[in-house]
Amino acid sequence: MTYLINSLNRAVFVLAVTVLLSACAGQTPPQKPLRVAAVQIEAEGTRVLLDALQWSCVVENGSGQLNYEYLVRRAGIASRIYEGPVAEFRWTPKQAGAYQLKVIVRDSTDRQAESSWSAVYNFSAPVSESGLYAVWPIENLSANAAPLGKIREMLVTKLRNSGLAVLEDERMEDFMRDARIRYVGGLDPQTARQLADELGVAGVILTSLETWHERGIPRVSLLSRLVVNAELPEVAWIDSIGLNGDDHTGLLGLGRITDPRQLAATAVEQLVGSLLATLQGVAPGYRHSVDAGQLQLVDSSQYKRLGYQADVKKTHRPRTYFRDQQFDPTREYRVAIVPFLNINARKDSGKIVALHLLQQLQRYENIRVYEPGVIRDVLLSYRMIMQAGPSLAAADILASDTILGADLIMSGKVFDFQDGIGETRVDFSTQVFSGGRREVIWTSHSYAGGDDGVYFFDIGKIASTHDLLRPMAQAVVRLLED
């Protein structure tokens, strides 16, 4: 009897074990969760533009191809700076500030893991108020004779009065004579290196006179930029100002300004104010926010003081445009702007439109624009003459990592540029070429007149080409980046 019960128990036990084991058959053991084991971040210095952060990410338990998403956070706005299969990443912030970093990893089974936000890494401005600056002779793009020396003198005086150290004129003239420099519209790498090595210059201020009208109602427009003497000269600040004698006429026209030099002095003062704000690291910039899914303005407290955004009307927007669906505006891009072609427009209008677009592009933190002098140097050294805009071969040279490494090449044509007294009109087209994909990813055509939409007593009329072109360029870049 006991034997029978024992045998029965054993049989039931074996059966239960077999049932249990059979239930486990075909099931895979539970996977360990995907985990970001370590994120090593090494700061290679503390200066923007010159130095970088080196990231390396170690992931555990991932299956298949891993996809890394690198995020940075500054002023409470997180933005994506890279997404792809690379576990090691080198990144240089464009703007000064306190940055935190984070990595999100996804594997082929769509599992996701992320690191926590890192410690804060502080990056100071690429140039400081204590550096030595050279003020280059002013480039005249106005098609009129203008007192360039006087305007430069005003600029130098204002900079010195603001506490900046400016290279003495004699030393600069000696240097320019020895280095045989005639082109003052840009800074090439060799000159930048020589300036840094021989004279200890931290940056060069390049100014272009866009408009100069003495007759009738005076009109002055200036475009100015600061180029940092890095290994590859880079634009650290750019701004422009356009003033008319009748901007603030007031009661009985008492506020009308008749002397263009007075306008130039005001323009210089405003430009220096804008430059100082950048040197103090308070200039606003646009960032693509991951959380909000749209562009956001960083440091918006300076937004109004610096006259950051022009009044963009419907007529200023491109009349036709195309943006490739595969283009991701949130990614980081290096942009080369090649000189715009003049089609029946006035002399140097191509340079003016290109500078306005450079100014607008510079405001986006995910975009780095090459200094025009660097582009000119590359085009000259490769004997590239572009009669109809850049070809694939030209784009390949600019996009080559061993030469320039541009991700996007912007070019265009100017069909009309009327900045005389009377009618104001601008007509231009832009084209952006993707260096990596070798395809056109953006085209636009913009045209507008100063009196578009003006019907009664010139209310709302835009008198200067500068004030017309600025919102037009802003609208183009906004549509490209939005």
Binding site: F322, M386, S391, L392
Partner: protein
């Protein structure tokens, strides 16, 4: 008796309207040509060659070409090679008259640029026309698509827009701006191409 009076007034108004309508410069529609054998979905990449300029404005053809290239690209149906690349291809193919290419030149261009078709064009009118005291802008453009495999024309169309309208005569306006008229012409041609 009353209805007769009314009838006479109606006829008078209709007659007046017809006379006024006759004063407008009508944009006569020229029928386009489309090769029925051609599979247009196979055309992925095109090169737009410089247009022949028959207008008084030296740079008008370049303006219209640039606008056309941008708008064709914006359709996202066809990829348009950038003008710099087209220029390089033309130089390498030793093309002398870009608006009237030979079959050999088109075949060469296909090898160099790897395009499925080329578009040639003639800008016939670009400027303002006057009719009485009224003045308005007018653009007239004709286009041809040449398939690069055989060098045969597979599509041809033309469009004319602008001109003095009834409103211009009545209100004395100067017509639409030239860029707007150009856009109208290109839109019309693109409609014909994709219809």
């Amino acid at each position: 008796m009353k209805w007769r009076k009314l009838f006479r007034t109606d006829i008078l108004i209709c007659g007046l309207l017809l006379m006024l309508a006759g004063c407008t410069i009508s944009s006569t529609k020229v029928p386009d040509y489309t090769n029925a054998q051609m599979d247009f979905s196979a055309v992925r990449t095109v090169a737009v060659l410089p247009f022949q300029n028959l207008s008084a404005d030296d740079q008008a053809a370049e303006r219209v070409r640039d606008a056309f290239m941008g708008m064709l690209l914006a359709t996202e149906a066809i990829y348009v090679l950038p003008p710099g690349e087209v220029n390089r291809g033309m130089n390498r193919a030793n093309m002398r008259i870009p608006w009237a290419p030979t079959t050999e030149e088109i075949t060469k261009l296909r090898e160099i640029l790897e395009v499925d078709a080329v578009l040639t064009g003639v800008l016939r009118e670009y400027g303002s026309i006057r009719s009485g005291s009224a003045e308005a802008n007018l653009v007239s453009l004709s286009l041809q698509m040449i398939e690069t495999q055989t060098g045969s024309t597979v599509w041809s169309a033309s469009s004319t827009k602008g001109g003095v309208t009834l409103a211009d005569r009545m209100l004395g306006s100067g017509g639409r701006p030239m860029n707007d008229v150009t856009t109208q012409v290109i839109n019309d041609l693109l409609d014909q191409l994709f219809e």
